[in-house]
Assembly symmetry: C2
Homo-oligomer: 89 residues x 2
């Protein structure tokens, strides 16, 4: 399984994962349900949420659709740690 633990932009992938997890929890769905909605494997969703994957743009588009939000918001969050509209724990 190819993961991106050592990628220099790891922080970016990690923040994407944080936002995906946060939005999934807000929708009150499991990783399995998100995976089903996005037609991905459950472990792939786990990896995304942990920042271990560097998904293709169309894969992220499927995840965004499954989360019922525009993809640009995921990217915006990942690029702007201090997004005031989003709470990060």
């Amino acid at each position: 399984m190819r993961r991106d633990r050592q990628h220099r932009n790891h922080g970016f992938l990690r923040r994407i994962g944080e936002y995906v997890r946060e939005q999934r929890v807000a929708l009150m769905i499991t990783q399995e349900e998100l995976a089903e909605r996005a037609q991905l494997h459950r472990t792939y969703v786990t990896d995304i949420e942990n920042g271990f994957r560097n998904p293709a743009i169309l894969t992220l588009a499927r995840i965004a659709l499954a989360l019922e939000l525009p993809m640009w918001k995921i990217v915006h969050f990942a690029e702007n740690d201090d997004d005031p509209q989003v709470e990060v724990d």
Copy 2:
């Protein structure tokens, strides 16, 4: 060379390519220069601009950095054809 001509989300990739080309032209740099800045092959940039590639999110991040703009703007444009701030011909 793997391309994504027949992908069901082709329109999304095409709009990403449109925006990348538009912003590159606005910067008055060639595809070769963009490729060099983003550490990609020139033909890869050509494919991106034509919507033939489904880049990894970190690849798009490199392109955005090379274009001196936040990636979320590229995604926002691709998701919103009618972005009033951008002219598309």
